[in-house]
């Protein structure tokens, strides 16, 4: 084989390799899912539907106590008591997970960053604390991204679509018949988290503009998916008097 032929075959191989990479990237990008359609686009300056979409998120400080039933990736089931102390205006969350017998398994605070105050195995992991706080923020705090679309879903529910800086999409869906739902998608529109809120008793009045559902269900989709079911035990409205401290 001549030296030029050898050189040519190396170039061919390099081009083929580049082409394969390009095709893989193209394949991945074209395999991105499609977000649900929104009808009709609400283009008014202050969309009415947006007000409906604000309903799920707390405006005041609360101490919420739930029993949490967790179904973990290995199908292991755990029941815990979750106490969440929220200061929505400052986006500060204090979260305490205890066993039914009252032993503190994890005490963590979100105030821009996640801090673990106390944890015992297997809860003594930064990933567990960060994951828990991400889930709690998704459920209770208004999405941090910008509102990119609002309107109605195919079945007539109010929907607001938020896009975060990292490309994540959050759809907040408020059906006419009550309850609400949040769907979180990754930047490739793959379904990442689903939150469903259910009111077991009819809420004629909304307490202090806050509507606290009795039952919440969060599903983390994917290979290491899990499910958390929250049943409300108690909600205590916090004031400057009984809100102990801002961590």
């Amino acid at each position: 084989m001549k030296k030029t032929d050898c050189f040519q075959s190396q170039i061919d191989f390099f081009l083929m390799w580049k082409l394969s990479i390009l095709l893989i990237i193209l394949g991945i990008s074209t395999s991105c899912a499609r977000l649900p359609d929104i009808y009709p686009p609400d283009s008014s300056p202050v969309p009415k539907v947006k007000l409906k979409c604000d309903q799920p998120f707390l405006k005041n400080k609360w101490q919420l106590v739930h029993s949490i039933k967790a179904v973990l990736p290995n199908d292991q089931k755990e029941v815990m008591i979750g106490t969440i102390i929220l200061a929505p205006e400052k986006k500060i969350i204090h979260c305490v997970i205890t066993s039914i017998e009252g032993i503190v398994l994890l005490e963590t605070v979100y105030n821009k960053n996640v801090t673990i105050n106390r944890a015992i195995p297997p809860f003594d992991s930064a990933d567990i604390a960060a994951g828990l706080m991400n889930d709690v923020r998704l459920i209770f705090l208004k999405p941090e991204g910008s509102l990119i679309e609002s309107g109605l879903t195919a079945n007539g529910s109010n929907i607001c679509r938020y896009k975060k800086d990292d490309g994540m999409i959050e759809d907040v869906i408020v059906p006419q018949e009550g309850g609400w739902e949040i769907n979180q998608y990754d930047s490739c529109f793959g379904l990442n988290r689903t939150v469903k809120a259910e009111f077991l008793t009819k809420h004629e009045s909304v307490e202090m503009n806050d509507n606290i559902p009795e039952r919440l269900e969060l599903t983390a989709h994917g290979f290491l998916g899990y499910k958390l079911s929250f049943d409300l035990i108690e909600s205590v409205r916090l004031t400057t008097r009984n809100y102990q401290r801002e961590p």
Partner: protein, 206 residues
């Protein structure tokens, strides 16, 4: 000068004597408490569990019933807010928790923690406060016993436990488990019945 010396002597004598006093008194009374509990074969009591933390505006409250039968059988049952039952029969622990499918046996990590806790409860209810391999005990005035972890690794989870005994022999008024100065769980017992007939099956099945 002599007066000052006498005062100093008396002061040190008092300090030394008062240092020895609780030891002798506590040992005597620990034996007395053990004797009191010897006649207790079974216990049934209602309890209220209050979890206190600095951050909480209101403590977390649970209610339940505890059954005990000598030598090592315990049924620790929560009625609300989450129904769950801890059973200890001759040292073997099982835990059941209410779910959508009814009461389901829990085999998670929590069972091992509770095996340890129930083991300690059997020491307390049978009056063997100083028999625990995990805690050292000190008797204080007012029929209060303080248990402190022997191992440092364990004291990271529980700082100390205080047992407040009733004036009625064999009856416990209150147990407080301190995790740190701001975080503690208080169990208050009421309607305690002693030496009643309790079927053994209650320690084996739901």
């Amino acid at each position: 000068m002599r007066r000052k010396q006498r005062f100093t002597f008396l002061f040190f004598a008092f300090i030394m004597f008062s240092g020895l006093l609780p030891v002798a008194w506590a040992n005597d009374d620990m034996e007395k408490l053990k004797k009191e509990a010897e006649g207790i074969i079974s216990v049934r009591a209602e309890f209220i569990q209050r979890k206190h933390m600095k951050i909480l505006a209101r403590p977390l409250v649970s209610r339940g019933i505890v059954l005990f039968k000598r030598p090592k059988s315990v049924r620790w049952e929560y009625l609300e807010p989450v129904k769950s039952i801890l059973l200890m029969d001759k040292g073997r622990v099982r835990r059941f928790i209410e779910s959508d499918e009814g009461m389901v046996e829990d085999t998670g990590a929590g069972v091992q923690i509770m095996q340890f806790v129930l083991q300690e409860i059997t020491f307390w209810l049978s009056g063997n406060f100083d028999q625990s391999p995990n805690f050292s005990s000190t008797l204080l005035a007012g029929r209060t016993i303080v248990l402190q972890p022997k191992e440092e690794s364990f004291s990271n989870v529980i700082e100390r436990i205080e047992l407040k005994l009733s004036d009625i022999p064999g009856v416990m008024d209150r147990v407080t488990i301190f995790e740190n100065k701001d975080t503690y769980t208080e169990y208050t017992f009421s309607n305690t019945k002693l030496n009643i007939a309790i079927d053994d099956s209650l320690f084996r099945n739901m």
